[in-house]
Structure formats: C-alpha cells, structure tokens
C-alpha cells in the first residue's frame, strides 16, 4: 500500500478553468505526483468516485441534481473537501442565472424562443440532469473544510494550498490568496 496521499478533483457546475489553472502548476505537477495519487478527476479515467480520499478539490457550483449527488458522494468519502475556485465557493458565473428565478426562465429563451428547428427544452430522464431551482455554492449542500477562491485561482495559489494540505499545515495568513475574481 502506497503512503502517498489520495487526492481527487471533481468538476461540477463550472467552466473547467480551475482545472486548467491546476494544470498550469507545470513542473510542480511532478512534485505533486511524487507525493500524491490522483485517484479521481476529469483528467483521469476513473468511473466511480473512490473511497478513503484524503483531499478532494471541488470545482464548480451545485447547478443540477448530478452535481448535488456527486458532492454528497465526495463528502462521504473525503477527509478534506476543498471548495476550489469562485463557482464552488460562491456560485459565481454559474449562479448568474439565479436573479432570473426559475430555470425555465433561462431554458425557454435559449432552447425554445431563440431556435427555429426543434424548439424544445432538452430533457431525458437519467441522462440530462434537471437543473437546481437556484445554483448553490458547495458549502450550502455539504460541509466544506477549505476555501480556495479565485476565478480561476492562479497556479501559485493552488500550489500553496495543495502543499499546505499535503504537509498537513493549517492555512493561515493567506492574504490575497483568498481574493475572489
């Protein structure tokens, strides 16, 4: 059994920019790979979220029912859950539909009013997840241990946070590392 940390990343209602920023850590990724196994991630071919994960970076807001379900699975199987990026922390751009109210108010103009052919709101039970009435930050549906805002958080910020987590150091005096936007 490896003594490496078991790290996962998940991609909920977001643009994947936070994952891009994660990859921007460049050569630190080698150091990271030395110390951790990436046991689940959109950039790894793993179907089911595994058990006994040490750290999970959660990108994106809770925008649909699949997001909600996965967030709960993450919580049940992870020691330290990190809200990764502004969408996870605050809803951010993903939540910009919230002032418009019911999701229908967004779906109908886009999929019905604005199209000529086959104007229908996409729905397929079990395949297309229904939207949440309001987009929620991750901590509204599961307990979150660490917050890493930024849109996206730049690679250095992520590096500092991930290093601290792998070293089991508390995140203090973070200054602009917690700046939104």
């Amino acid at each position: 059994m490896s003594d490496k940390a078991r790290v996962a990343t998940v991609w909920l209602g977001g643009c994947s920019g936070c994952h891009m920023s994660f990859l921007d850590m460049d050569e630190f990724l080698f150091d990271f790979a030395e110390r951790a196994d990436l046991v689940y991630s959109p950039i790894a071919d793993v179907k089911d979220f595994p058990e006994d994960v040490d750290v999970t970076l959660v990108e994106g807001a809770i925008a649909n029912e699949d997001n909600l379900e996965l967030a709960r699975i993450v919580r049940a199987n992870t020691t330290t859950v990190v809200s990764f990026g502004d969408c996870a922390v605050s809803g951010n751009v993903t939540a910009m539909r919230n002032p418009l109210g019911d999701p229908e108010n967004v779906l109908v103009p886009v999929y019905v009013d604005a199209v000529d052919r086959n104007p229908v709101v996409p729905s397929e039970e079990g395949i297309v997840p229904p939207l949440m009435p309001q987009v929620l930050p991750v901590h509204r549906v599961i307990d979150v241990d660490v917050y890493l805002p930024g849109c996206p958080p730049d690679a250095d910020k992520i590096k500092r946070a991930v290093t601290a987590l792998l070293d089991a150091e508390p995140l203090v005096e973070r200054g602009t590392d917690i700046q939104f936007g």
């Binding site: 809770i62 909600l68 709960r72 949440m132 009435p133 929620l136 509204r140 549906v141 599961i142 307990d143």
Partner: protein, 545 residues
C-alpha cells in the same frame, strides 16, 4: 386677543352642569369600542332616551378608553350622588335595555353587567389614563373640570423653570418610550443647552405591533399631553413644540389639532400664555408610515422633511436637533405624566412603583388572555399579577408559555420568571426590555421560533436600510428562521443564527437594529429546545426548492 381661560370658573360651571342630570351615561367611544360598534351604541342610547321622554333625566357622554377593550362596547351608568354600574358588550339592543330598565325602572340589565371589583380594575392605578372613560376628549371643559391645566398655571405663576426641572428629576420618572432614560436628566440637558431657539418634541410614533398606549392618550386626553408639553417647554426654555404622530392615527391627529386650536383660543398656548411672558406654539407633524421614525434622530429628520433615517450621535439632539437647534424628544406617555407630577409633587410620584422605576406604566395587554385591553399599573407589579389577576389568566384551560414585552425590540419571558417585577432593569436582565408598553401573552400552543420569525419579519420590513447589519442582517436572520421553522435547518444554521444576531446587535447604527435580535436571542435562551427539535441531523442534506 381673547381673554385667558378662568380655570376655576370653567371647572365650577362643568361641575354644575354635571349635577343637572340624575343620570349620566358614559359610553366608551375610543377606537377599540368604536370598532366593536360603539357608534351605534351611543346613537341607540340617545334615541331611546329621547323616545322614552328621558331627555331631562339622562345624558350620554362619549368618553375615552375604559380599558377592558375585549369586552366592548363598554358603558358606565352613573347615578347622581350614587353608585355607578358598568356594562359590557353593549350593542344597540342592550343600549335600549339599559335605558328602559336601568334608567327608567332602576333594574340592572343582568346579562351584560361587568363587575368592577375584579382585579382588572381594582389592581390598576391610573395617572396617565385617569380621564379615560371619564371625560369627553373633545371638550376642554371636561379636562379642566378634572384639574386640567392647573399644573401649567402653577409652574407659570409659582415656579422657576429650574424648579420644574428639579421637580421632574426628583420624581425619578424615566422615559416611557422604552429605553428608560431619566427624563429629568434630559430636561436639564435642554435647559442648559445654549441657544435662542429650542424645541420640544412629543414622540407619538407608536409602532410596536399591538401597542396603543400613546394613541389612547392622544385620542382620549389630548389636553393632558398638551399641558405636559407646555410644562416641558417652560422648564427647558423652548418656544416651539411638535407632536409627531404616525399617519395610522388619523383620529389622534384630528383630536390633537382641535385640542391645540381650543387651547390657543383659551390662551393656554400661543403668546402670553395665561397672561404670563411664556409663549409656545405646538404643531402636529404626521409620519409617513415608517416604524424607524420612532427613533429620535430619524423622527427629527422626518419633521425636517428629510428621509426618515437615524442620524449619528453625538451630537445628541439636546445639543443639535431640529434645524441645528437644541431639541428634546419625550415620549407621549412621559409627557402625560408631567401634569400630575407637578400637581401632586415629586414625592408622591416617587412613592409609586419601585425606587429605580417610579410611577406607573401603561400596558396594552394582548394575546392569549381572558381580559384584553389597556391597563396602567405601578412599576414593579409582577408579571404574574398582570397576567393572572389583571389579565384574568389564560383562556380555554391552557397554560401560560411566554410574555413578550417591548415588541420587535423586546424579548420573550418564560413562566419561570412570572414573579419578576416589571421595571426597566429587571426586564433588561431577562434579555427583554420595557419597551413602550406592548405586552403580548402566549399560551402553550405557540411556537417560539415562529414568534421570533414574526418579529424578525417586522424588523426586516421596517429597517431603514442605512446600515449594513440591520439592512442585510435582518434579511438573513429571517431567512435562517424560515429554514429552521420549515424543518430544514441544521445545527450550522442555528450557530450562524446566533452569530449573526450578535453582529446585528453589536454593530447596528440605531436602536431598531441593535434590539432587533432580542426576540430571537431570548427565545433561543429560554426555549432553545424548541429550536433544537426543529433541526435536522445534517441540514446540509436538505436543499429547499
């Protein structure tokens, strides 16, 4: 210029007129009884008297509030030199019976008799409400006949302003608006403030849900308030006074306007009052429906015609108030106590109540009680006396659960503290406040988190929006309470609720925000188990639609 009123002559004439009729029927025509149909009662009484040829035997006098509003319309039948009888629920038919039986045949209308020896009446001590159910509010003669304006005459002719301030200070009276600031200190601040132009303002922006103490004074005994204002102005050197009345009290505005006109005509206001060098103008200003305008700095802004939002203190209004001039704001009930303090003396007043809370307090009893209405009791009367004796206990065999004092700024007091004396300091120790006198009693069917939500809804709606904690914090507190009462709240929500209440309490600009969390904090303190029983194990599992 008209000649000033001769108070003694008027009083004498009034007493004479009174004894002309063998029977006087006093019918409560205050707002609560009017809404129960008192207009019809009065008409029916008058008609029946006329058609039964009793016009020389009986006269009907519409009066102010008699107190036991839940039994209205109330009527008192008084026989010359004899006893008086009180009737409850006097509708038009009962009114006919009263004339035909009681007046004509000297028989009681048994079905509607109201026993005046019950504690509701016996346990009260009426100073502010002394004329309630006694005089016709529209006739200055009635007020004068009961000693009205003698106190003003006394201060103008026998006392220096300093002596008046001294008397008020010695009486120990504290502000009846809720905070309990010693009135004498305030008066002395204004008296000492430099400036040619000074103002006195009577705060009649009574906004607590269910409270109608000040309304009753303004509607039913307007001259008492005017006399109190005039004494305050004389003592402090003010030459202009405002009565700020909320727009929801049109009858009070009408009555006060008329009373001011009559007082001026009788040289009790205006120039050379009672032939002295004292001048005073009083003007009614009407609010526009904002609760926050009961806060003194917001009230002043509103009088100046500005947006009614609280201003920063210091400077305090007694330094810089209306249009930059020294201004003193007193609650209507405070001012209504003044004539009696002057007439009967500070020692007499201080002997009533407790050493630190002197005098009486008017309460609007509401909620789950047998007797609902307006009462005046000595400060320090226990909650138990008010609830069980005066209020007649909880109806339908249910148990007492909590008493809410101080409206949206107050707290809920549980049964274990029923023996607490009702005074400023004891209530504050329990996490509530005296407030302006709203007292709502709840039986054991009531959910306390729901009560907290009700009051937070009120505060949220009435926040002026100037400061962040009150504007945005009350919204969040309300949201958390909604989640908890809907059975979707978590322990985290409860923790956030308490933290947020602390922030709103500690950082809000004015009293509205600072005290808005009181109903929540006091119900968590005394009824925490009710909150806890509503929580879900992990509220994060629940996402409301």
């Amino acid at each position: 210029m008209a000649a000033p009123i001769d108070l003694h002559e008027v009083a004498e004439r009034e007493h004479e007129a009174r004894s002309r009729y063998p029977w006087r029927i006093k019918a409560c025509a205050s707002t609560a009884c009017l809404s129960a149909g008192a207009t019809g009662t009065v008409q029916s009484l008058e008609q029946t008297i006329e058609t039964n040829d009793l016009a020389l035997d009986a006269v009907v006098i519409p009066t102010g509030c008699m107190g036991l509003c839940s039994r209205g319309p109330l009527v008192r039948v008084m026989r010359r030199g004899g006893d008086e009888t009180m009737y409850q629920a006097v509708n038009e038919e009962v009114a006919v019976d009263i004339v035909k039986k009681h007046i004509k045949k000297h028989e009681f209308v048994e079905t509607n008799l109201l026993d005046t020896s019950i504690p509701f009446f016996a346990a009260q001590e009426r100073i502010v409400l002394a004329n309630g159910g006694v005089i016709d509010p529209d006739r200055i003669e009635g007020y004068v006949a009961h000693g009205g304006y003698l106190a003003l005459q006394k201060v103008l002719t026998e006392m220096t302003p300093e002596a008046v301030v001294q008397e008020v200070t010695a009486s120990g009276i504290r502000g009846r608006g809720g905070a309990g600031y010693p009135a004498g200190s305030k008066w002395s601040l204004l008296a000492k403030a430099p400036g040619e132009q000074k103002y006195v303002v009577a705060n009649g922006d009574e906004g607590d849900p269910g409270a109608y103490m000040d309304r009753t004074v303004m509607e039913d005994d307007p001259h008492r308030l005017i006399e109190g204002i005039a004494i305050a102005a004389y003592a402090t050197g003010a030459s202009k006074a405002f009565i700020y009345v909320r727009a929801e009290y049109p009858r009070a505005v009408e009555r006060l306007d008329r009373a001011i006109r009559v007082a001026r005509r009788n040289r009790l206001l205006g120039r050379k009052i009672l032939e002295t060098d004292f001048n005073l103008d009083v003007e009614v200003r009407i609010g526009a429906g904002a609760f926050v305008c009961g806060e003194e700095t917001a009230l002043l802004a509103s009088i100046e015609g500005l947006r009614g939002v609280p201003q920063l203190r210091p400077p305090y209004p007694t330094e810089k108030g209306l249009w930059g001039s020294p201004t003193m704001i007193n609650n209507v009930e405070t001012l209504a106590n003044i004539p009696a303090i002057v007439t009967k003396g500070a020692d007499w007043f201080a002997s009533i109540g407790t050493p630190k809370s002197t005098g009486t307090k008017v309460f609007a009893l509401a909620g789950d009680l047998v007797n609902i209405g307006l009462i005046e009791v000595p400060m320090g009367t226990t909650l138990r006396t008010i609830v069980e004796d005066i209020g007649g206990g909880i109806p339908d065999g249910k148990a007492f659960k909590a008493a809410q004092t101080g409206g949206p700024s107050g707290g809920c007091i549980p049964a274990e503290f029923l023996d607490t004396p009702v005074d400023y300091d004891s209530l504050r120790q329990l996490g509530s406040i005296m407030g302006s006198g709203g007292l709502i009693v709840m039986d054991d069917d009531v959910s306390m988190p729901e009560v907290a939500k009700f009051f937070m809804d009120f505060s949220m709606d009435e926040s002026c929006g100037k400061c962040t904690p009150c504007r945005a914090g009350t919204v969040q507190i309300h949201g958390l309470l909604e989640r908890i009462t809907a059975g979707q709240g978590s322990w985290t929500d409860l923790r956030h609720l308490e933290q947020l209440c602390a922030t709103v309490r500690d950082t809000s600009l004015c009293g509205l925000g600072q005290s808005a969390p009181n109903p929540v904090l006091s119900t968590i303190q005394y009824f925490g188990d009710e909150y806890e029983s509503l929580l879900v194990e992990s509220g994060l599992e629940v996402v409301d639609a």
